[in-house]
């Protein structure tokens, strides 16, 4: 028996890459996949790197692959959108050293701005092979197999785990580590120069067309590989309704079987392309197939196409409407769908718990002690005073858009705050515009929007929240950090210096805990022409609390209830969870207060003072 370790799905995938002899691992942090790279970085012989963004990460990996070195790119689904341009060339050139892309999907958008199925980009757009694991152990096995198959087929392999696989934790079998090949660079311009050149050898056909043909000719090869893959199998059961269980769908289908005490015919699928013969063998015995997949009807559509081509008469239903087309799959969804097909099973479905009490939703907010609460407070005062519009971006400070502040008016994807602010300025509505963006997000994609704004001469205020880390996803370093993933010294890029060099009207560095200083900077910036940059610099409170280098001197604050006039500015313009409000008065919750003292500045009538 192999040695067992208790690992998270992400760690299991990292271990799979290590066992496969990976040498270069590059990615950008994001829930649900950040721990893959963190796990790998514990192995000193591996080059593990959090990159400026996902596209850069994949490009680094391809460079390594050119030299016969196995490489792994790690990102969440939004990042896979960012790499699409490169991916649509990488698929034509193919790879040398095994290259695996882990694209973590988040069905149900548990920690994301959208719920996206990255099988669509990677399989339907790029025609790459995709593995879809149902559990952490299979995720590890798939990563390992993907490296071997990537070299065998010369194609980048994609592993697409969903959040529940990434964040699942179980015992994982550990195996030996394969030794990598010696690196060697060898030119092949006919392959790695992707350009519209006429190939004389091929009668003057343009190279992209030839490489496209190469990719198409790989598909039958992949079909054979998937036919023999251990990640697909058939289970016999009662009846003529077959359950097609894709990826995490298999976990839910197996739970449902246990609860219902009935064995269904199951086609367990984990690969794209599909194992055509296996699918046909299964389908020909069935009247109807129900496809359980997260989250779009990808396999469902492929099955319909296949059965049309093959003349197979079987009804196929799934996420296109028979099952809920949005949200995360669950055992409950499987159970309900089966009870719809077999009414006698209805009574075995766990009853829902009745409740008359209203349970308030718990949304996240800035941590108590977060320096950005001071920044958001000052920004809200200024923006409301000048009737300004605030565009937002991705990161912890985005909680300023929720209750109680309701400050930012837009949040889309990484780096969209500054360009959208430019567009608002161009529209002709004469309100000042503010864009607020975090440091990691700024480097990821935001810097381009800033350079564009400076070049085009638009009037706006760009506020960069500089806490020196990617706090939202668990404190990963970025180009503004002075350490790398292992904590070794790294060159920190100075945001204010960059903005100044690019020609911003001003680049003011402020301490976000210092509310008067932030207010003053905003007052000056909003009156300037061109792009004014404000960099609010202070390490994340959760980090400084650990290191002891706090950005404030902790001192107890007291609230004079007689002075409090119930104006609620401390709630609606500040929103610290340690300030409670009832019966028309504010009170301090000393159980959670960390004594940052920003509220002393916030209270306009002096009801909150230092003790």
């Amino acid at each position: 028996m192999t040695e067992q370790e208790y690992l998270m799905g992400n760690e299991a995938m990292g271990r799979g890459a290590i066992e496969a002899g990976v040498k270069v691992v590059a990615g950008y942090p994001g829930t649900p996949i950040s721990e893959v790279l963190e796990y790998v970085s514990k192995y000193p012989d591996i080059r593990a790197e959090w990159c400026i963004n996902e596209k850069v990460a994949l490009e680094i990996c391809m460079g390594a692959s050119l030299c016969n070195t196995r490489s792994l790119a790690v990102m969440k689904h939004n990042g896979t959108n960012v790499v699409l341009d490169f991916l649509m060339h990488l698929n034509y050139t193919g790879v040398r050293g095994g290259l695996v892309l882990i694209s973590g999907d988040d069905p149900g958008a548990l920690s994301s701005q959208n719920e996206e199925d990255s099988r669509i980009i990677t399989r339907l757009n790029a025609h790459l092979p995709v593995f879809d694991p149902w559990c952490p152990q299979e995720a590890k096995d798939m990563v390992k197999a993907a490296f071997e198959l990537s070299e065998e087929t010369e194609l980048c392999f994609v592993v697409r785990p969903v959040t529940r696989v990434c964040h699942g934790r179980s015992t994982i079998g550990m195996e030996g580590i394969k030794k990598g090949k010696a690196p060697r660079f060898e030119d092949d311009r006919s392959r790695f120069i992707m350009s519209a050149v006429k190939e004389t050898r091929a009668g003057g056909v343009l190279r992209p067309v030839i490489r496209h043909r190469w990719l198409n000719e790989k598909q039958p090869v992949l079909a054979k590989v998937m036919e023999a893959s251990p990640f697909n199998h058939i289970e016999d059961g009662e009846g003529k309704i077959g359950l097609v269980a894709c990826g995490i769908g298999y976990a839910f289908v197996k739970e449902a079987e246990k609860i219902l005490g009935k064995k269904f015919p199951i086609l367990k699928l984990g690969t794209l392309p599909l194992p055509r013969n296996k699918v046909l063998q299964f389908a020909r015995k069935m009247d109807r197939l129900v496809v359980y997949e997260d989250s779009e009807a990808v396999v469902e559509g492929m099955l319909k196409q296949m059965f049309y081509d093959e003349g197979v008469q079987v009804e196929v239903v799934g996420r296109s409407g028979f099952l809920p087309p949005e949200g995360e799959l669950s055992t409950t969804i499987v159970l309900k769908s089966l009870a719809g097909l077999y009414p006698e099973l209805e009574k075995k479905i766990p009853a829902t718990v009745p409740l008359e009490m209203k349970v308030p939703i718990r949304t996240r907010t800035q941590c108590v002690g977060c320096q950005y609460r001071g920044l958001l407070h000052a920004l809200k005062l200024t923006a409301r005073k000048y009737k300004g519009v605030v565009t937002g971006d991705i990161g912890c400070y985005d909680a300023g858009s929720f209750l109680p502040l309701e400050l930012q008016s837009t949040i889309y994807c990484m780096g969209s705050s500054i360009p959208m602010a430019s567009g608002i300025a161009y529209s002709g509505c004469e309100q000042p515009v503010f864009a607020i963006i975090g440091d990691s997000t700024f480097f990821h994609n935001g810097v381009l929007g800033l350079l564009n704004a400076i070049h085009s001469g638009v009037d706006l205020v760009a506020i960069v929240c500089d806490n020196r880390t990617t706090a939202m996803t668990g404190f990963q370093p970025h180009p503004g950090s002075d350490i790398d993933v292992r904590g070794e010294p790294a060159m920190a890029i100075d945001v204010a210096g960059l903005a100044t060099a690019a020609g911003a009207t001003s680049a003011r560095v402020v301490n976000p805990y210092d509310i008067p200083q932030v207010k003053e900077a905003l007052e000056k910036a909003v009156k300037e022409k061109g792009v004014s940059v404000i960099v609010a610099t202070e390490p994340c409170y959760l980090v400084s609390r650990r290191t002891g280098e706090l950005g404030f001197t902790p001192r107890k604050v007291v609230l004079d209830e007689d002075l409090c006039n119930g104006c609620k500015i401390c709630v609606t313009y500040f929103g610290c969870p340690s300030i409670h409000f009832s019966d028309g008065k504010a009170t301090i919750d000393y159980g959670t207060c960390v004594e940052c003292g920003m509220c002393v500045e916030v209270c306009q009538i002096g009801a909150i003072t230092w003790s």
Binding site: G168, E255, S330, P350, P360, R364, P404
Partner: protein
């Protein structure tokens, strides 16, 4: 109540920053040592920022299990915050469930900004008790404060769980795990917390149906 079902399903819930994830890891690793197949599913990403955090922990003597507990199938709900106990009961509850709650209400932002109301404490307790086969309430955060570390509320709750004998784990098993998981200077504090949790369940009024 002793649960003989396999797998055993445990829901651990609370608010970001309370140490829920650590709690699930302590229990998970202790069960692993006893030869159980353990699977845990976690909802992360809002940790430390006041969002609701939840772990599913499943243990089986027979076979590997998936990490997600089907709705309505929890045996035990451990919660570091009472509103979260109720939230979990609605999703995972059933007439056999035991709940152990740290009665330390933390107000969601919607409550702080007066858009929503936090339930009256007595009514909240009553609602939890009504939906549980047996419901236990501890002031673990208060006890932790007395130890000078409110963060050990999670280990106090764990002490409560152990003394109820609902899991195939003894105090010694947890002690071994605490020694393996914490740096030597933190072990004593956590052992104190464990004992405190065990004692307080003994003197606690259980609300049973």
């Amino acid at each position: 109540m002793v649960y003989h079902d396999d797998p055993l399903n445990l829901v651990i819930s609370g608010v970001g920053g309370q140490g829920n994830i650590l709690l699930s890891r302590l229990i998970g690793r202790s069960l692993l040592r006893k030869g159980y197949h353990v699977a845990v599913g976690e909802t992360l990403g809002v940790a430390q920022r006041g969002g609701a955090v939840m772990s599913n922990l499943r243990a089986s003597k027979k076979m590997p299990v998936g990490p997600l507990i089907p709705e309505g199938k929890a045996h035990i709900i451990l919660s570091l915050e009472p509103l979260e106990t109720l939230r979990m009961l609605v999703r995972y509850g059933n007439p056999q469930v035991t709940t152990i709650t740290n009665f330390n209400p933390l107000f969601p932002v919607s409550v702080l900004s007066r858009k929503d109301q936090y339930p009256e404490y007595d009514a909240l307790k009553e609602a939890i008790a009504k939906l549980s086969a047996s419901a236990w309430f501890l002031d673990a955060t208060g006890m932790g404060l007395e130890l000078g570390a409110p963060i050990v509320a999670n280990v106090i709750i764990l002490g409560g769980l152990i003394s109820l004998n609902l899991l195939p784990l003894t105090r010694d098993d947890i002690e071994e795990e605490l020694k393996a998981s914490f740096s030597p200077d933190r072990v004593e504090l956590n052992l104190k917390a464990l004992n405190l949790g065990m004692e307080s369940i003994a003197s606690n009024t259980q609300v049973s149906n």
